[in-house]
């Protein structure tokens, strides 16, 4: 599979989740701020009008007291019993009188003093040491004094603080809720997409019969229909390509047989030919061998593609198989290095001819691209048999180790050598058909090592 580009880009699911969370936050924050402001205005208005009313009432009481001649201001203030949170202040003849021992004229903001001295009642918010307070000023011109009442409002502060906390918590909850909803919605919306992605991955993996289930959902009918017909078209095309290759190679069998047989006749009568004709015959024979080998590879690949390969399975000993593969390809048996334990059974259930072809292809690859076959190791591994084919070449670069098993990929640096590049792909496909695998790695000490792994046949099945 092709690797997906991974960047800082957010996934669709994350985007939907974030949008929902953002929307939830915006909505809940607007609501919360609005609610807070309205509530705050209302409460403040209420508090102000209450303070004003109380201020005027207390002012008139103080005026009555002061009108009684001779009564000192502090006595008058003593007779007034203001509510617990209020402090009364009187400014007369440049002197300040307070009903509290701690609060003095400092709490009254100078602008209010000026306003009241000018003869107009007023109200301002002030900030004495502990929390907010409303200061109401009322002129009392009859006695040449100004009356101030400082009403501190701790309960208003507390109410507003609580409201702020509740609304913030609400906004936070709404945001989290939005994110969860977004996640859920994204999952619901993306679920069909995931089904499509899964199906596409299976198809890419070779399961061409995979189709999406037909749905009634009007939103999905089109995409599922298009997807399925696309896969139909793809499968048909792949099948047509495979059939074409198979048909072509089948068609080539008869002419090739005639050619090789005729060349065989000419080789038998080589002495009757002039030297130039003999040279031409040798060239022809050599190329026919190559042609035949490529055609055999193609036919074998076609068989594997069609799934008709591996029909003639028999249990054989892996060491025997390697020995015969070396023998039929004219290589010395001393190349076999038997690393199995004494008496170890290395039976594998294979199509002998196919496996032989795969092994000989690996040997030829070592000769053509790896400066010669160095050794073939056979050993048992857990429930499998490992055959390692070592060459003495420069090895295969890490980047090419998978690529070389694709069809028609030649060794890059030595592309002029014979071999159409089918050999290694045939090896890979043959092993896949046998439930095994082939891997290209590094030989200790340099060179390439192709490791073939095949499942061990059931114990006791090895034919004597």
């Amino acid at each position: 599979m092709i690797g997906r580009p991974r960047g800082r880009q957010l996934g669709l699911r994350a985007k939907v989740t974030l949008s929902f969370a953002g929307g939830g936050l915006a909505l809940s924050a607007t609501l919360a701020i609005g609610t807070y402001l309205v509530a705050r205005n209302y409460l403040v208005d209420q508090r102000e009008s209450a303070a004003l009313g109380q201020g005027f009432a207390d002012a008139s009481f103080v005026r009555e007291g002061l009108l009684t001649a001779g009564t000192p201001v502090s006595d008058v203030l003593g007779t007034v019993v203001p509510p617990a949170d209020s402090v009364l202040l009187v400014h007369q003849d440049g002197e300040w009188y307070s009903s509290s021992l701690t609060l003095g004229e400092d709490v009254v903001p100078p602008p209010l003093v000026e306003q009241v001295e000018a003869g107009a009642a007023g109200l301002v918010w002030a900030r004495p040491d502990d929390g907010a307070a409303v200061v109401v000023g009322v002129p009392v011109p009859v006695v040449g004094a100004e009356f101030y009442e400082v009403v501190s409002t701790p309960e208003l502060e507390r109410t507003l603080d609580t409201l702020l906390i509740v609304l913030s918590a609400f906004a936070l909850l709404t945001t989290v809720g939005g994110a969860l909803l977004g996640r859920y919605a994204a999952r619901r919306v993306l679920a069909p997409l995931e089904v499509v992605a899964g199906a596409a991955a299976r198809i890419a993996g070779g399961e061409l019969q995979t189709r999406l289930p037909i749905t009634e959902d009007p939103e999905l009918v089109t995409i599922i229909g298009s997807f399925n017909s696309m896969v139909d078209a793809l499968a048909e095309r792949i099948e047509r390509d495979a059939r074409f290759t198979a048909d072509v190679s089948h068609e080539l069998r008869s002419p090739l047989t005639t050619l090789t047989t005729s060349v065989h006749v000419m080789q038998g009568r080589r002495d009757e030919l002039r030297p130039r004709a003999q040279q031409a015959l040798d060239l022809m024979a050599g190329e026919l061998d190559r042609f035949g080998s490529v055609l055999e590879d193609l036919l074998e690949l076609g068989r594997l593609d069609a799934g008709t390969g591996g029909q003639v399975r028999a249990v054989v000993d892996a060491r025997e198989l390697v020995r015969h593969a070396l023998a039929v390809s004219g290589r010395p048996l001393t190349l076999l290095s038997d690393s199995s334990r004494p008496g170890e059974e290395l039976g594998i259930e294979v199509d002998k001819q196919q496996l032989n072809r795969a092994l000989v292809n690996l040997f030829s690859n070592a000769d053509l691209h790896g400066e010669g076959l160095v050794a073939v190791h056979v050993r048992g591994a857990s429930r499998s048999v490992v055959i390692e084919v070592d060459d003495g070449g420069p090895g295969v670069g890490v980047a090419d180790r998978d690529r070389i098993f694709e069809r028609f990929v030649r060794g890059g640096s030595r592309g002029s050598l014979p071999g159409a590049g089918l050999g290694l792909s045939l090896v890979a496909e043959t092993l896949r058909a046998h439930g095994g695998s082939v891997r290209c790695g590094e030989r200790p000490g340099g060179g390439a090592r192709f490791s073939v792994r095949l499942p061990l046949a059931g114990v006791g099945q090895v034919a004597s």
Binding site: S254, P255, S262, G268, V312
Partner: protein, 234 residues
């Protein structure tokens, strides 16, 4: 003149080149482009060996083999595509002795022909010392007479093909020995390690239908699971 070889092949190129090559190998080649023409050739006189393509226009190779088999015990080698793995078994069951897959090298064909020919050409004058007659099944009065090169049940000859006879001889020398498919492939068909073991299995089945009293419950040529076959004389 060498052994008489009938080639039945509808591809003109293959047929003509096979004739040239096999004549050079010393065979007396008669060829025919169809099964019908091949039957015509056989009606004029016996041949020693046959090379038959399975895919023929008109009558196919299977029918041809089934038609000639009762009257001829000459070895038949079929030419087939290796993909048609069921065809190969079907051809062997019809009575073919061995097969070669296309595209083939001539040396594969000559090797097959030589292997089957070497065992044929009976009944040769008894080599000395004459091998003993083996009683295979006393109940059926079934005897293998290697000296005379035949198998008899009571007073009649049991009709075996050359290869079936060779297989029985191999199993009977001496009886009671387990022979692996690989060993039989080597000794009877001269096939090496890469030979197809199904050839042995099909021939054993064919042999059983001819010598066993109940071929579905063989008591003479028995299968030894995982090892091969054994002849149990009774």
């Amino acid at each position: 003149m060498g052994p008489r070889l009938l080639v039945v092949e509808d591809d003109d190129g293959i047929r003509a080149s096979l004739r040239l090559a096999l004549q050079d190998e010393g065979y007396d080649v008669v060829d025919s482009a169809s099964a019908e023409a091949g039957l015509e050739v056989l009606s004029q006189g016996p041949v020693d060996l046959m090379l038959v393509d399975l895919m023929l226009g008109g009558m196919d190779g299977f029918t041809f083999i089934r038609t000639v088999r009762p009257g001829s015990d000459a070895p038949i080698i079929v030419l087939s595509a290796r993909d048609d793995t069921h065809d190969i078994v079907a051809a062997l069951e019809a009575g073919a002795d061995d097969y070669v897959t296309k595209p083939f090298q001539l040396k594969e064909v000559t090797a097959r022909l030589r292997a089957l020919r070497r065992r044929g050409g009976r009944p040769a004058p008894a080599p000395e010392p004459a091998p003993d007659v083996v009683t295979i099944d006393a109940e059926q009065r079934l005897l293998l007479d290697p000296g005379a090169g035949r198998v008899r049940r009571a007073d009649d000859d049991v009709h075996l093909t050359v290869t079936e006879y060779r297989l029985l001889c191999e199993l009977a020398s001496p009886p009671g020995r387990v022979l692996s498919r690989q060993a039989l492939l080597e000794s009877v068909w001269d096939r090496g390690f890469f030979g197809d073991e199904r050839i042995v299995d099909v021939h054993v089945r064919r042999l059983r239908t001819k010598i066993e009293s109940d071929a579905s419950h063989p008591r003479l040529v028995v299968t030894v699971r995982g090892l091969g076959y054994r002849l149990d004389t009774r």
